[in-house]
């Protein structure tokens, strides 16, 4: 049987082979990501519930495990309302524009030394470009909705995202100075050999800036003034319902996990183990592997949810002040520190 399959496979034209092979890999990435996004919503409600001394959803299915599935089904059956005088094409296009970049960025993330879809030399640049595309979705959604609240909300949201994108960009520059390559796999490999090699130690301010900027970019609490129900009634997606709304939601959570994955790769060593080679030699199951990657990303996701449960919402001017007046100077100073350390002091090896 395998021979007939193999024969069938070899008979296909080469472009079809490449297409099918990549499609299989893409499905292997996309399916878990979508499931992770769905169950992240469930985990959020449960974890925040327990932090607030209550049980989250536990009715739908055993212990509430079918909750996200049922939420998706519910949204599927809701009517998609297109407001009067709304620009139809843009109105439907905006959620797709918000969702697609969040998914495509997963193409370059290395899950382990050998598990990645593609290993391009400009991986970080690619991701920066895609996160910048996400802003378009927000602005177009607000504009196309023909609603004052949506418009104002989208402007404020876009201004916030754009301010924190600069801080994130500068933080990434710091990582690049240390790693010397835009290739995400090589950035992770440069931190191999134990937790003392991880970039979170010499680049700690940049890690803080990157992570908090990531929280602000995805419009998550405590930076969700543009989305908070008590503020501007769901901001730029006030006119959306049904699957279009679901797409925004999926895009936001996919972005969250993406930022967690990037922080793990750039600052926490990706799939490399925190244990030194000496320890790993004696206990090989503690070595590098995708399990470490998953543990780190899960921990960062937990931090996202923890922030939401703990902190009160920032005011909009406080958010902008933080992004422009605190984070950018901090990152700029740290970039200078890294450069000076590398060239003028004997401690450059710390910023390998």
């Amino acid at each position: 049987m395998t021979e007939t399959l193999l024969g069938f496979w070899l008979a296909l034209p080469s472009w079809l082979q490449i297409l099918l092979a990549n499609l299989v890999k893409i499905v292997i990435i996309v399916l878990p990501v979508v499931l992770a996004v769905a169950y992240l919503t469930y985990a959020e409600r449960k974890i925040i519930g327990y932090m607030q001394v209550r049980v989250g959803p536990n009715r739908v299915g055993p212990r509430g495990w079918l909750q996200p599935i049922m939420d998706a089904v519910k949204l599927m059956f809701k009517e998609i309302i297109v407001p009067t005088n709304a620009n139809r094409f843009l109105f439907i296009g905006a959620p797709i524009l918000a969702f697609a970049p969040a998914m495509v960025a997963w193409a370059v993330i290395p899950f382990s030394d050998t598990l990645w879809l593609t290993n391009i030399d400009a991986g970080l640049l690619f991701i920066l470009a895609l996160t910048s595309m996400g802003v378009y979705g927000v602005i177009i959604a607000g504009w196309a909705s023909n609603s004052k609240y949506a418009f104002l909300g989208s402007l404020r949201s876009a201004a916030q995202i754009v301010a924190y994108e600069i801080a994130m960009g500068f933080a990434l520059v710091g990582v690049l100075m240390a790693a010397g390559s835009l290739n995400l796999r090589e950035i992770a490999l440069a931190q191999a050999g134990g937790a003392h090699h991880w970039y979170i130690l010499p680049l700690f301010p940049l890690f803080l800036v990157y992570f908090i900027s990531g929280v602000a970019e995805t419009n998550r609490a405590p930076f969700d003034v543009a989305e908070g129900e008590s503020e501007i009634v769901a901001g730029f997606h006030v006119e959306y319902s049904g699957m279009a709304f679901a797409l925004f939601f999926l895009g936001e959570y996919a972005n969250m996990i993406l930022i967690g994955a990037l922080a793990a790769v750039m600052f926490l060593g990706g799939w490399t183990t925190p244990f030194t080679p000496a320890v790993v030699a004696s206990l090989p199951w503690l070595g590098d592997g995708i399990h470490w990657f998953l543990i780190k990303v899960s921990f960062l996701m937990f931090c996202f949810l923890w922030f939401r449960a703990t902190f009160p919402r920032y005011r909009y001017d406080q958010i902008m002040r933080l992004g422009w007046k605190v984070f950018i100077p901090v990152t700029l100073v740290w970039i200078v520190v890294i450069g000076v350390a590398k060239f003028l002091t004997p401690w450059g090896y710390l910023f390998h």
Binding site: T84, V104, F126, V173, M243, K325
Partner: protein, 118 residues
């Protein structure tokens, strides 16, 4: 080398198809009964007062312009950071001069209040 990018192209197509498919599923499965009240823009329960395409604060424009400037700065910093070990001290000093000039601009906009009230 360009072969590395083919999976990305396929992924982009897949992501777009996914997005479109979800909207189509929503359209197919959901009811479609528009009426004037449902389709009117949301305004806290009132009738919309005026056209929603209104003037907006010039501060948003300022933020966008500042973003462009700093994003271009980042775009210049990226290749420099990658090649830092090769360009050595001279490259570092040159980039510090560039950053210095941009910091002068940053201090100017800070003091002038372009980063305020938002």
């Amino acid at each position: 080398m360009l072969n590395n990018y083919v999976p990305i192209l396929i992924f982009m197509a897949v992501a777009l198809i996914m997005g479109v498919a979800m909207v189509v599923i929503g359209r197919v499965l959901g009811p479609h009964r528009p009426d004037t009240e449902k389709n009117s823009p949301y305004e806290c329960g009132f009738e919309a007062f005026e056209d929603s395409r209104m003037k907006f604060d010039v501060r948003y424009y300022l933020v966008a312009i500042l973003f462009i400037i700093f994003d271009l700065e980042i775009a210049f910093l990226f290749p420099w950071a990658v090649a830092l070990s090769e360009v050595g001290m001279l490259g570092f000093v040159a980039m510090m001069l560039f950053l210095g000039i941009l910091v002068v601009g940053f201090i100017y906009e800070w003091k002038k209040g372009a980063l305020e009230w938002e």
